[in-house]
Assembly symmetry: C2
Homo-oligomer: 415 residues x 2
């Protein structure tokens, strides 16, 4: 059975209170946090005391409260520390430095070799990126770094179990990085990272059950249940890209046929153009450039591009309808740069296909939107893992800190 | 955001402690409950005090604890009360009376008219069944009744939103029943009921994340995440039967084509026989009888039956592989009377198909089994909802009861 200790519950409540502060357009009061989270005012007061003491929150003035005493307004203390979010992709590594309010301070993208990249090459690139941004911390202490690597990740051990691009097997990436970097390190994959970014900074600010469908070179479905990322037994939940959409259909790079990914990934969409018009000028580029060209051409009414978006919406919508029937979420978010690029036309047509194919009960509570998480959601999510790790730090937030706080309160009373 | 109050957490811990007592082969100690649930000994002692006071648990002797003082052994107080579990199916209603240990005291199955059954006919049948079993309570107070009705159920309001068999729309079934029955009533559907039965009395005793695939006239996937039933936004999560397995394939009763249900439900399996051998004697019966005949004939090596089981396993396994990739559970349980009837041969072949189709990360942590929940899992699960409702009763377990207990403890100290 799952272990639900008082410590777990407290951490979860701490996350919820802080997510609420991040989600608000400006500073908030304790009362507002209590209303949004459903926690009691006493619990919120306690959590806020802890977060103020840890320097994560700041009091930034007061608001009038009709008749009562003025309420203190709280905001994230952006300068309390810095976090790295690192997105290891197929051809490059993006290293971003954030303040504690998760605002980008500085960012750098470094290329990877065009080959079967070795783990030490990735480690070198990450370390170079982190060192290159050291000055931008501007005196803030680095509280942690989150690293997203493609494929299957064993999170607890910080191991890259499998990579879709490189011949990696059980690479202890966190241990390798820890030889060069001293801050706490958190490893996960792009699907989990972009989903946690959505939970803190996107649609997840309003709902607790959501599915984030990401379209990139790979395709996945990030799942949040009851406000928590759903990982499954081996951290591979949400492997939706290899769901069979069309038995005997297109070959997929996984070796099977007809997978969702073979139709709605970058490669899949380009393949649709190729099948529609083998000589199309839209194909005169690498896949990423082609997606941008397709989006532009579709906006101008070019028939092949228009039909490509329509077919992509058809595939995405039919596959999503089944996914939504299973999870019955409050929101479906289309994320990943491909969804971002194809934008509103893809969203509109996908919505129609879903409406025609999903069950009425599924549609009843559902909203559908393109992600509005700022670029890059993967590095932002990776930094969020580092933030979550810091919020879980027993030195800062554990029983010892609580004891210190109680002792100080007691001294204050007796002095 | 979800509301997680102290009351919610306490209820959840109460459920976990009691699930642990139910799951054990004999009486258990507080220490064993603490070990299994991961709760602290102090929390368990508190929960047990509450459950003893409520009469739900009994102390049934002591065990030696090497060197320490003997540990009290705890068991469910079966005679504390009675619960009804009611399974409304397409052609009949089964009403079962349970003691608090969820042992069947008496059971009755009453036929429904062979037509578009009206809500008042279902209400009359349920009420007749409950009254017919009144004597079997043997003086135990009836603590609640759980009612499972097919289709979509709005649980909070106790409304049958949609029925797959009858032309029902938004039938306020709980209100209609409450005109005749005075005990607390809990409404849900067979998928949710059989999944909660699996969580308390089946594979869910050992794992917290599981998927229960049920094969009956309908097909569904019950989902437990972190030891809790996953319902989704409108209580329709797990609608797997209408996932598209073969685009343009068999007509489904939902109006679409190629749904999972069109292949692995009773009707789907009989259709497979019909396609293989239109004149097969296996078809000389209603669908339910045909499934039993197919199981028997397959065991004897009859080629059409053998091939029917193989094709069913193929369809079930390919569809399940995608489902498992999405949820990445610790266990997949095949439930429903069709899985029970086709048994080991279906399980073995389905396992092979899943192994060939699911991702390695999915297979790594997965066990696969046929449900061993005793018949009828739907009425047992319905009674479990009533048990959960009773455990949630604020009169018995709320702050008032806690206050009473504290006052008594205080009096005991001062007297």
């Amino acid at each position: 059975m799952a272990r639900r200790t008082a410590q777990d519950i407290r951490r979860r409540n701490r996350f919820d209170a802080l997510r609420c502060v991040f989600a608000a357009p400006g500073p908030v009061s304790r009362q507002e946090i209590a209303t949004v989270t459903g926690l009691s005012f006493a619990t919120v007061a306690n959590l806020v005391a802890e977060l103020l003491e840890a320097g994560v929150l700041l009091e930034v003035g007061h608001e009038d409260s009709k008749g009562g005493r003025p309420r203190a307004r709280l905001a994230i203390n952006a300068d309390r520390g810095a976090l790295f979010g690192i997105d290891v992709a197929e051809t490059s590594v993006q290293v971003e430095l954030f303040d504690l309010a998760l605002t980008v301070l500085q960012s750098v993208r470094l290329p990877l070799p065009q080959a079967d990249v070795r783990p030490d090459e990735v480690v070198e690139t990450i370390v170079a990126g982190v060192r290159g941004l050291a000055d931008a911390t501007d005196g803030r202490r680095v509280l942690g770094a989150g690293v997203s690597v493609p494929g299957l990740v064993e999170r607890e051990g910080g191991v890259s179990v499998y990579s879709p691009y490189w011949s990696w097997r059980d690479v202890p990436l966190r241990t390798l990085l820890a030889e060069h970097l001293t801050m706490p390190l958190y490893l996960d994959n792009p699907l989990k990272a972009s989903t946690v970014a959505e939970m803190w900074f996107g649609a997840g600010r309003d709902v607790d059950d959501l599915v984030v469908v990401t379209l990139r070179a790979g395709v996945g479905a990030g799942i949040a249940v009851d406000g928590a990322l759903y990982r499954g037994a081996t951290n591979s939940a949400g492997e939706w890209g290899h769901t069979c959409l069309i038995p005997g259909g297109r070959e997929c790079r996984c070796g099977r046929r007809g997978c969702v990914e073979a139709y709605v990934s970058t490669r899949g969409i380009v393949q649709t153009v190729r099948e529609l018009a083998p000589g199309s000028p839209l194909l005169d580029a690498d896949e990423a450039t082609a997606i941008t060209a397709i989006a532009r051409a579709a906006a101008e009414g070019e028939p092949v591009a228009v039909e490509t978006v329509a077919r992509t919406a058809h595939h995405l919508g039919t596959a999503s309808a089944d996914l939504l029937n299973l999870f019955n979420p409050q929101a479906l978010v289309l994320g990943g740069w491909v969804a971002d690029r194809l934008g509103e036309p893809l969203l509109r047509q996908t919505r129609e296909v879903i409406a025609a194919n999903a069950l009425p009960a599924t549609l009843q509570a559902l909203t559908l939107q393109v992600s509005d998480v700022p670029d890059n959601p993967v590095s932002l999510g990776a930094a969020t893992f580092a933030l979550e790790g810091f919020l879980d730090d027993r030195e800062t937030f554990g029983p010892v800190a609580a004891g210190r706080r109680a002792a100080r309160a007691s001294r204050a009373r007796t002095s």
